[in-house]
Point group: C2
Chain length 400, copies 2
């Protein structure tokens, strides 16, 4: 049957959830029911919400209810679906939207990632280890030459990807198109030196209606990938970037502002849906989120739930790369690879730039850590000088 099943967690006494669930199922679809004539009930039955399940024991004084919303009630776009399943309801006291299940026919309206984990691995030329990404640091108020030096150092350290800081917008000192062109030139130069191709994700910003044209032009100028603050725009805008065949670039979803919707314990939308399922459906090739280990941290079960939504199979969609982030240093690589296996991107800012030997050494230290974990060697036993220095710095409680 064509439907979306929404699951909500909300407080209530045992025995109270069925009435609540029936009220939602009716109120958010056909409105009233018992007072309708028989003939109208028959006509409206296929539009009526249905209580799919009730779990009265989800926690102390907390229940979970699942409501099925018929697909014919809304158009096949997330703004319509969010309005249906959590429009009015989001305003109604304490209630959290924890999952949406789309029937197969509805899933077909969403593109999923264009590249996915396998496609990104081909672009990066990396088959059998986590990818390594680093982030420009302290670039606000700096010029192109400053960014070029940083990019060169990061690439020489052997990182697979470099991303813009999400708070770097189009600006006179480092304009968007200039960043794309310079990034291309420098990464070509480093590739000639080292043989290693590093990809650069430039931050796509500006007014909503200008994004697609900017993205197309960025591709023409040689952009490798687009970083996108999807939650300051909307999931539908991300999906439109994904669907545009004239863009065709890998899309990296940044979680900026996602916490405004997902961080509260009893309100809003669960992280697993917001940064997990929705980003995979709408076409992000990468989903960044705070790791359980760093300065800004999510709980481990939240992080693993996001990761599952990004990579579980079977799925109609390609896999999205989980990118645990924030405060990552080389000493955390064993933890990240235990949690996420090889199918993740290890993403570091301060953990690369803060290396006493500079960003190039910072990248090398991470690469040494990844190789050691793959080989089953404890980090402390690794011979690499860069890793040894990094472990010494960050084991003292330094901030990655």
């Amino acid at each position: 049957m064509s439907e979306v099943i929404a699951t909500y967690r909300l407080p209530g006494a045992k025995g109270s959830f069925e009435k609540k669930a029936e009220g939602i199922a009716l109120g958010l679809t056909v409105g009233s029911w018992t007072d309708l004539p028989q003939l109208e009930q028959e006509q409206l039955l296929k539009f009526k919400g249905r209580v799919a399940s009730i779990n009265e024991e989800a926690g102390e004084g907390v229940g979970e209810i699942s409501i099925a919303y018929p697909g014919r009630n809304y158009s096949n776009d997330l703004p319509a679906i969010l309005t249906t399943v959590f429009g009015k309801l989001s305003l109604d006291g304490q209630v959290k939207l924890i999952n949406l299940e789309f029937s197969d026919d509805l899933n077909r309206h969403y593109p999923g990632p264009r590249y996915g984990i396998e496609g990104i691995r081909e672009l990066a030329g990396v088959k059998d280890r986590p990818l390594l990404m680093s982030i420009f640091k302290g670039v606000i108020g700096r010029d192109l030459a400053y960014m070029e030096d940083q990019l060169r150092a990061q690439a020489r350290g052997g990182v697979d990807l470099v991303k813009d800081d999400e708070i770097l917008f189009d600006n006179p000192l480092t304009p968007f198109y200039e960043r794309v062109k310079n990034g291309r030139r420098i990464l070509d130069e480093v590739q000639q030196e080292t043989g290693k191709r590093t990809l650069y994700a430039v931050n796509l910003t500006g007014r909503t209606s200008e994004l697609r044209e900017k993205a197309r032009r960025a591709r023409e100028l040689g952009a490798d990938a687009l970083l996108f603050n999807v939650f300051s725009y909307s999931l539908d805008v991300l999906q439109e970037l994904r669907e545009d065949e004239n863009i065709g670039l890998p899309l990296m979803a940044h979680p900026a502002f996602a916490g405004a919707v997902a961080q509260a314990p009893h309100h809003g939308v669960a992280y697993s849906l917001w940064l997990g399922k929705f980003l995979r459906m709408t076409g992000a090739d990468f989903s960044l989120f705070p790791s359980p280990y760093g300065s800004v941290a999510l709980e481990k079960d939240q992080v693993l739930a996001i990761s599952r939504e990004l990579t579980d199979e079977p799925s109609p969609f390609k896999k999205t790369f989980p990118v645990p982030s924030a405060g990552i240093h080389p000493g955390l690589v064993p933890h990240l690879m235990e949690d996420f296996g090889e199918g993740c991107v290890i993403n570091a800012g301060g953990g690369v730039h803060g290396h006493p030997g500079g960003a190039e050494s910072g990248g090398l230290a991470f690469r040494q850590a990844i190789e050691a974990v793959k080989a089953g060697i404890p980090l402390e036993e690794v011979q690499g000088e860069e890793l040894r220095v990094a472990l010494s710095l960050w084991s003292k409680g330094g901030k990655g």
Copy 2:
């Protein structure tokens, strides 16, 4: 100075807020500071965030801090500003964004309402009382004839505006353009009968990139106003609808999904900013929100704070109509007019349609209540039959 000052409420012990504030001011702008050479500090000073104020006594164990973010750090659009002031920070434990103050030069980048309260009053032909709006009810699964009958009855009851249900999307039974055309025809007919012009706000829905063209076409077909689920899209999309001179229609912002960001007590964004200041800046002529009295209710101080942001002067923007909603029946009119004065829209669904005499009588009952309050007459003393019946029904605890 060109800047946005963001105010956050967050937990902490007394004496802890200054360090926290300094960390945000640096971390979300230039990154590091004390370890920079003197020359670089001088160059970066104009990009550095500034702690504008600290209030350590905002509540028990709660403080408020205000950070000024220089205007040169971001482009002049809300996605960039939200990313800057509440991007990473939204993910960082317990913190609520309670206000943004824009310097005058930045405010100039936002359009404000095209019509505003005064312009809407001219369109509606109503000078000196609250406007009255009613909502289509139970229209999912129904056809155009059903909606036509409802529209005619509502208009005959003397309501100033009728709005679509926000969960009615573009669909085969009642397609968007057909609703526009039929609405126009029927409201013209009623105007010929009664002399009263009722305006119809049609729900603008679909994929983001199609909205503007749909809105332009709706205007050509005679649409009066557009209802828009802005929070299932984004504030920037609302602003682009407002700025498009080929649309030029009144915009009615529905709060669907707004609670996902604003409902939690210690996370997300305050209602006064989300449904108040932002909607006025970006150009909503109407902002709907739950009243303190109905089935889905906000707290009274939240509601009044929203209303102040929509209407306070001086302001660079026209005023946005506050539209307290949800569970409104005629007996609540005195409360609403005490809270909001004449400068609001009284908005009812069940409170119009649920009248024993039908929607036409429901509208008349509200109009009688409004006239009574204006004349200083207690509702119980009003002679109008429709109002008497309504009061009798809803004083028994019936649901508006």
